[in-house]
């Protein structure tokens, strides 16, 4: 009796395995194939430098204080950004800074690979982002 029950369970298992044998694999070979990042994905920040008014709203709202911003007053009384650093060893990609930015010049892009060799290289400047990366 028990043998019968166990073998029934076993056969059911084999049946499910059999169905799966002919399904396509669902895993992606990661470095070769890019991971899926939808448009709203919260990855590494991007800054449209020209639009930033150095209001520091993003710096104030950041819960972990990982933004360092400084600017100087330019000729037409407009602030010009001198430094815009994010310490990615602290940042938790929470989106609050993006939400707070009045001219919407701070956004989050699809990159998520922030591995670095040491702690100091996790501190990145958004001023020196390559242009083609920007949207």
């Amino acid at each position: 009796m028990r043998i019968k029950q166990i073998s029934r369970g076993f056969l059911k298992g084999l049946q499910v395995t059999g169905i799966h044998l002919f399904r396509r694999p669902v895993t992606h070979p990661y470095p070769e194939q890019r991971a899926y990042t939808p448009p709203r994905f919260r990855g590494i920040h991007r800054l449209i430098v020209e639009d930033c008014v150095v209001c520091r709203a993003c710096e104030r709202v950041c819960p972990v204080n990982c933004l360092t911003i400084s600017g100087v007053r330019g000729d037409n009384r407009r602030f010009i950004l001198e430094q815009f650093d994010i310490d990615y060893s602290l940042c938790m990609f929470c989106d609050l800074c993006v939400e707070a930015c009045p001219p919407h010049c701070l956004v989050m892009g699809p990159e998520f690979e922030i591995a670095a060799e040491n702690r100091h290289s996790l501190r990145r400047s958004l001023l020196s982002q390559p242009k083609e990366e920007m949207v």
Binding site: R2, Q5, I6, R8, G9, K12, G13, V16, T17, H20, V26, Y36, P38, R40, F41, R42, V61, C62, P63, M92, F93, C94, D95, L96, E99, M108
Partner: protein
């Protein structure tokens, strides 16, 4: 020279399980006292993942604290957000608009489904079944992808805000969720064919770790743990919040109170989650997703307790305001911690191999236990 049976001295053996043991679901450590293969004593140690989230609420403004609840229970972050945001909204006297309420319901049920899927996979892994783990993770990945499309992150969503939600759901997304439901139903029935009547699984989990309803209530259990002991208690309908007040109750209970009953309750709850999703999708109507909220949120000098029914049980937040943007005090009621209290009651008298199955059936998340 073989000594006869009476002369063998039986000593108690102390066995350390964890904190890095895969079957303790995180960094939970327990020291088992064994008499042969039988457990005679359990000493749990927790706190390895303590990050001080209650204290942090006193050091961050209400707005700044919004992404933190995600980190309490990282497998069901939406519920933590809902508990914190709900408590804050109760203090501030804000009510989220209807569309936001429905969206909250949708993301919470999706999250409950994902959380139960992960539990199902790891629980079966604990009792020695390897393949369901891979299947449930495949489905969970789809749910996480859906949530990522809506919120931008896979686990730490930071989706809910005081007075609403952060992102609006597009029609395409809602259609995707709707299209996913029949698929998930089908998969769920596939798991059930595979697992429910499996003789080996039944023998591993039936009649072990039994707790009756009275004891379960005395221990302060909640969620599927309590419902598997026959107590029909589900905060979604017993103390309704948000959109749940409009939904007819669907409380799943089981009388057996053993590990198998807890499995059954959770699996049926997954089906209920899918049904609720369908109901919520029908309720979606256009409108704003944020109520008008002051720019600087200040908690008034009052206190409140707000609880939601998380996948693990009653997840409550007790919040005291002091007239500033910071909380005077915040206390979390983590369901995993309370459910874990019953561990020694459940384990004593069972075998070591049952310990893993019973611990798996409690469904703890250490991020939430230790906070």
């Amino acid at each position: 020279m073989t000594p006869n049976r009476e002369e063998i001295v039986q000593e108690e053996l102390m066995l350390n399980l964890g904190p890095q043991h895969p079957s303790t679901h995180g960094v939970f450590r327990m020291v088992l006292d064994l008499q042969g293969e039988t457990i005679v004593g359990v000493t749990p140690y927790m706190g390895y993942l303590h990050r001080g989230f209650e204290k942090l609420a006193e050091r961050r403004t209400a707005i700044q604290y919004q992404p933190y609840p995600d980190r309490w229970d990282y497998l069901a972050a939406m519920f933590d957000e809902m508990a914190y945001i709900g408590a804050g909204e109760a203090l501030l006297g804000i009510q989220a608009p209807r569309r936001a309420q429905v969206l909250r319901g949708i993301v919470m049920e999706l999250n409950r489904f994902a959380s139960h899927l992960l539990w199902l996979g790891t629980f079966l892994l604990d009792v020695g079944a390897l393949s369901p783990f891979l299947y449930t993770f495949r489905e969970r990945e789809m749910v996480l992808d859906l949530l990522m499309e809506l919120t931008g992150a896979r686990l730490t969503y930071a989706y809910m805000r005081f007075g609403g939600v952060h992102h609006d759901a597009e029609d395409v997304w809602l259609k995707k969720v709707r299209a996913g439901i029949p698929y998930f139903r089908q998969r769920l029935s596939e798991y059930r064919t595979l697992i429910d009547d499996n003789e080996i699984f039944r023998r591993r989990v039936e009649h072990i770790g039994i707790i009756d309803g009275t004891h379960a209530l005395h221990y302060g259990l909640s969620g599927p743990m309590l419902r598997a002991s026959g107590v029909p208690w589900d905060l979604r309908w017993k103390r309704p919040y948000g959109i749940y007040a409009e939904i007819p109750p669907r409380i799943i209970t089981d009388l057996a109170g053993d590990t198998y009953a807890r499995y059954k309750v959770r699996v049926e709850e997954m089906a209920v989650s899918l049904d609720l999703l369908e109901i919520f999708l029908d309720l979606v109507e256009s409108g704003p997703i944020m109520a008008s909220v002051p720019k600087v949120v200040k908690f008034p000098k009052q206190e409140t307790y707000f609880a939601v029914e998380g996948p693990r049980g009653e997840l409550g937040v007790y919040l005291v305001g002091n007239g500033t943007a910071y909380a005077q005090r915040m206390k979390i009621r983590p369901p995993s911690l309370f459910n874990l209290q019953v561990l020694s009651q459940l384990l004593i008298g069972h075998m070591v191999s049952d310990a893993v199955a019973i611990l798996g059936s409690i469904d703890i998340v250490l991020g939430e236990v230790d906070r």
